[in-house]
Amino acid sequence: MALLQTLLLRLVTTAVTLFGVAVIVFFVIRVVPGNPIAMMLPPGATQADIDQLTALYGLDKSIPQQFLIWGLGVLHGDFGTSITLRQPVLALVLGRLPATLELSVMALVMAVLVGGAAALTGTRLRATKVEGGIDIANGMALSVPDFLWGLVLILVFGVLVPVFQISGRVTPSLQLPFVTNFYLVESIVRLRFDLTKDLLSHMFLPAVALAIPLAAIIGQLLKQSLKETMHLDYVTLARTQGYSEARVIWREALPNAILPTLTLVGVQFTFLIGGTVIIERLFSYEGLGNMAIDAVINRDLPLIQGIVILFAVIFTGVNLVVDLTYAALNPRLRHG
């Protein structure tokens, strides 16, 4: 019952948030300079041509009027038509979403595994050279932004030691039997591991670039909370019971130390998804972020709106998942 109430409340606040996002993006992209119609027409087009095209996309009406028309369409699932690609925005955006989701989730998994392993190792071997090394690596990973890591990775693993693909999502010459755009998932489901390998080879470097800063944050924060937890009485008591240090860390300290890290991972994951915009561009990866940059360059107003709304939906969704996981992991919240 309490869970249902929480969910309903979240749904309402999410709706309000999305409305706010819609209003802001709609007005801002219409106020900043740059005219989509002018970019579509060849130089020397007549004023009559311009007016005709402007009217076709409804851009001759006032901004509030345009918002009303667009908003009513959205409520019916119609996000308008892309000006440059001349296809429905919803289909375009949903078509690209799986590529970005696969990339972000892969980066998240990498970051959690690497960051978690670093934190656990650093705690097990605390006050040794290993912990010092982990701290230094964390610091380095944190002080360089993801797109620079992307460039470094392209240089090292794409050019100097070309073991991974550095461009695109899949080798273009391959025949793809897929019905959805979740290529990676579908290649595994269909047991086409040759395609899985090709997809992973393309995803690996951009995912690593996105994962490095997040892994460092997870490693640092989790190690810090583990360190505090290791001094608590119940951990000391467990030590007297004959368990190995590794088990004490894993069973007694970790379940409690992980809670603050979880909240942070949620917030940072949304940053990571934001980071896909530049990383996808860098690796010519055909995802939502790459499409967003094209849309902005071409002033494709309906497409920008659609992408921004979708990003906002993803962000609120991630936050909801984090809150629910938090309640599941922390028994003190479950009964409240």
Binding site: A127, L232, D233, Y234, T236, L237, A238, R239, T240, Q241, G242, Y243, S244, R247, R251, E252, P255, N256, L329, N330, P331, R332, H335
Partner: protein, 282 residues
């Protein structure tokens, strides 16, 4: 040979002063020995040294801790850990922080039986239920499924006591187990520990600063000052005629609840100065 025998144990803080000075004490099987002294006298340190949970900043500089004839300090860490886990237990000071908040009570009692002593899960659970009954907890099966935050401080201390006796240890270190509880609960908990100790025949090292507690549960006691044992005696002798002037002053300083008008008598400065000089001299 006594079950626990600490010989000439000295410890110091890394780069700091001594914490324990040439401490020797004996605990026979089934005996209850009190360790008394003021804060910082090193009584808790002795308990921690036995159980191998001294802070990383503390070094044992010399001495032996013989458990059933084996020097724990000479064992490799993994072997020591398992030996202590199988034959000793700790009743901690603060029941509110000594249970893991994110785990149910059940596994916190039974894990040791299963993973260190190799019991089956169902045997361990039956044992846990029986022990919770023994510490007078109603509906043990339900409590085993609960989380610590759902239980009162007194309940949690009962659970920790039950957990300490679960593996039938030969030696239990009770580190001021009643200090964090309110006075009405203190008495029950004390009775409970004494009762369990007598029934199970466990040797008990009882760390406390409360001489009243000592008179109720202990047979022998070591009085510590600044890391040194200044008197090692039986409880009967101690309360009849303490030998050391510091012990006598400590005993005199115990408030008399039967005579509140007497007020508090602190240990006289002259006695403190004398015992300090004696401890430093060695």
């Amino acid at each position: 040979m006594n079950y626990l025998s600490i010989r000439n144990l000295s410890a110091r803080v890394k780069g700091g002063g001594p914490l324990l000075r040439d401490v020797s004490l004996e605990v026979a099987a089934g005996e209850v020995r009190g360790l008394v002294g003021e804060s910082g006298a090193g009584k808790s340190m002795i308990g921690k040294a036995i159980l191998g949970i001294l802070p990383k900043a503390v070094d044992i500089t010399e001495g032996q801790i013989l458990l059933d004839g084996t020097d724990l300090l000479s064992l490799p860490p993994a072997e020591r850990r398992i030996r202590v886990g199988a034959s000793c237990a700790l009743i901690p000071q603060d029941p509110l922080t000594a249970l893991n908040p994110s785990r149910r009570i059940g596994p916190q009692i039974t894990d040791r039986l299963v993973h260190i002593l190799g019991w089956t899960r169902s045997d361990a659970e039956a044992r846990a239920r029986a022990l919770l009954g023994e510490v007078q907890i109603n509906d043990p099966a339900r409590v085993l499924r609960q989380y610590p935050h759902e239980l009162s401080g007194g309940m949690r201390q009962r659970i920790l006591i039950a957990s300490a006796f679960a593996a039938e240890p030969k030696l239990i270190v009770a580190d001021e187990p009643t200090t964090a509880l309110d006075v009405t609960v203190q008495k029950q908990i004390l009775k409970l520990i004494a009762g369990l100790q007598a029934r199970h025949g466990t040797a008990l090292v009882f760390v406390t600063h409360d001489l009243g507690v000592v008179s109720k549960v202990c047979q022998s006691l070591s009085v510590l000052y600044s890391g040194r044992v200044v008197e090692d005696t039986t409880v009967t002798d101690f309360f009849r005629a303490p030998k050391h002037p510091y012990s006598a002053a400590l005993l005199a300083a115990t408030p008399k609840y039967t005579d509140p008008s007497a007020g508090l008598k602190p240990v006289p400065d002259a006695v403190i100065a004398a015992v300090k000089a004696e401890v430093e001299r060695g």
